[in-house]
């Protein structure tokens, strides 16, 4: 284990979040079992009040996930100097088998918490808590995922032994790599084309859905596909323009000051777009519920707006990076 302040901060923070989420889930399960809206009993009243606590905990957890995602990457980045051969976070995360799973879980959990909060907000807008069982059912796997994430992260840091030769980002993301991540090896042009195609599709379906109030599923689906394609495109196609180096494909170095921290807005836009897109899909099946008929279309419009502006922001930043880069590729 490496005794670094960042590691300590991440571990202690994760344990705090796990503890509060377990607490929340405990009451979530009680709500699942004892909920009876028609009852005026003390128990029902106290359960109703617990829902506020659980929603607050989830909101805090969402914020925490976002911060810890970036801190995790920066810490890995810092630790790379202790790991001979690792030149940035990409190599440091590859130092043992727990690094990348922990990172992916962090992203998944952020999105899960976001989707949960979207469902929760929908549910709260109705007078009869129509989604209460579903949302507390969802709380349990999210808690489990966050526990797994904390475990992976702990394993990653515990198993991290300084001075292990790992493949640095140069090796990991170059054509010579023999590792599992072969994203950079994919042909550039089809990746770029599918990125632009998915972006255009998402923007069109989003606009259609926003104005006509229909086609939410299609939008949600295409936004989700765009999320995945964007990550591919970022590594394979977009990031070299920011580095102005055709062989540099690292998805983490764009978070550095040398590249004006451009990675932060990119990832924020990506995460917001992906999460709200998924959230739209998650609440749409309930638009038939009587008490939600009024609120869902309104809420969905707001979400589409947020989602669309995130994707637009991502598109604008990428386009700006590509157009004003000194790098030219054909």
């Amino acid at each position: 284990m490496i005794f670094d302040p960042g590691v300590l901060a991440l571990l202690s923070g994760s344990f705090l979040v796990v503890a509060t989420l377990l607490y929340a889930s405990w009451y979530g399960i009680r709500i699942l079992r004892r909920w009876d809206l028609c009852s005026g009993s003390q128990l029902q009243l106290s359960l109703e009040r617990r829902t506020y606590l659980i929603a607050t905990i989830m909101a805090y957890a969402l914020g925490f996930q976002l911060l810890s995602l970036f801190l995790f990457i920066s810490t890995a980045d810092r630790l790379s100097s202790l790991l001979a051969g690792a030149m940035c976070a990409a190599g440091a995360l590859n130092a043992n088998k727990w690094g990348y799973p922990a990172l992916i879980l962090k992203i998944v959990n952020f999105m899960a918490a976001g989707v949960w909060l979207i469902i929760n907000a929908t549910d709260n807008s109705a007078y009869d808590y129509p989604l209460i069982k579903k949302k507390y059912m969802l709380l349990v796997p999210i808690t489990a995922l966050i526990c797994v994430e904390a475990a992976f992260q702990t394993m990653y840091f515990l198993r991290l032994k300084p001075d292990i030769i790992t493949s640095c980002c140069g090796a990991l993301f170059s054509a010579a790599s023999s590792g599992a991540v072969r994203v950079a090896v994919l042909p550039r042009k089809p990746v770029a084309a599918s990125f632009y195609f998915c972006m255009a599709l998402t923007l069109t379906t989003g606009l259609f859905s926003y104005t006509k109030g229909k086609g939410a599923y299609l939008f949600s689906l295409s936004s989700s596909v765009l999320f995945g394609v964007s990550i591919l495109a970022l590594i394979n196609y977009i990031s070299p323009y920011f580095y102005e180096l055709p062989t540099h494909h690292c998805p983490f170095c764009i978070l550095h000051g040398e590249y004006n921290f451009v990675g932060y807005p990119i990832y924020l836009a990506l995460l917001t777009g992906g999460t709200t897109g998924l959230g739209i899909g998650a609440i749409s099946p309930f638009s038939g519920v009587k008490s939600l008929q009024q609120t869902i279309p309104k809420f969905r419009k707001e979400l589409i707006l947020i989602c669309l502006s995130s994707w637009l922001a991502l598109f604008a930043i990428s386009a700006w990076g590509i157009l004003f880069s000194n790098l030219r590729m054909d």
Binding site: L37, C38, G40, S41, Q42, L45, E48, R49, N124, Y127, D128, Y129
Partner: protein
């Protein structure tokens, strides 16, 4: 206007200290009138008022406000109804100390997020109604008993509620101020408010402006 059907409220149900505050109350309270709940302390007046005012939920029974059933609404919606429909005047004035009269009056409207200047104008309008404009920026700790009472009434009126609920409003006032209070109530009734009061003060329930008196004892309506 408000209809109560077989309303009961039990505190600490199932425990040794179980206490039945209301039992089978069926009552209808007409709109645009002043109704007084009369009875000795402990007769369930306050509990009834807090259930009426959507502050507490009954253990059983039903409440209709207008044509809306509110019995099993979640707390969140009860609060919204309470804020929009009811104005409260408490036994103690229950103003928040350390802030100005103006801020106290505006407090109930804060969660609505209305434009601040408009809200302030409305609060000044109410202060003006009670000749209190000059005291707007006074800390409520510096106000006299009568002024405090008028601030409390202004606060109850800020969201322009249909129904005013007052719990023993004159308990801490001398007779002169009590008469003044009833005059204000009269004016409000004439402006179209429904007023429900709980009181065992003769100045209140024997006053000529009271339309209905409901007598209560041991959690039951007796007349």
């Amino acid at each position: 206007m408000i209809a109560l059907n077989q309303l009961s409220k039990v505190f600490s149900a199932g425990r040794p200290n179980e206490f039945v505050a209301l039992e089978g109350v069926t009552l209808s309270i007409p709109a645009l009138a002043l109704t007084v709940l009369k009875g000795p302390s402990g007769s369930g007046k306050t509990t009834l008022l807090s259930i009426l005012g959507c502050m507490a939920r009954p253990t059983s029974g039903r409440i209709m406000i207008g044509d809306r059933e509110i019995t099993s609404l979640p707390e969140k919606f009860l609060t919204a109804i309470r804020r929009k429909t009811f104005g409260f005047i408490f036994q103690q004035h229950n103003l928040i100390g350390g802030i100005t009269a103006l801020e106290n009056i505006m407090l109930p409207a804060y969660p609505d997020g209305e434009k601040f200047s408009a809200l302030k104008a409305r609060a000044y309008g109410l202060l003006d109604l009670f000749n209190m404009t000059s005291k707007a920026k006074f800390n409520v700790g510096w106000l006299s008993g009568g002024e405090v009472q008028r601030v409390a009434i202004a606060r109850a009126l800020i969201n322009d509620p249909e129904i005013l609920i007052a719990d023993e409003p004159t308990a801490h006032l001398d007779s002169a101020l009590s008469y003044e209070f009833m005059e204000i109530m009269k004016g409000l009734k004439e402006k179209g408010k429904t007023i429900i009061m709980a009181s065992h003060d003769p100045i209140v329930y024997e006053s000529g402006i009271v339309d209905f008196v409901v007598a209560m004892r041991d959690g039951k309506v007796i007349r």
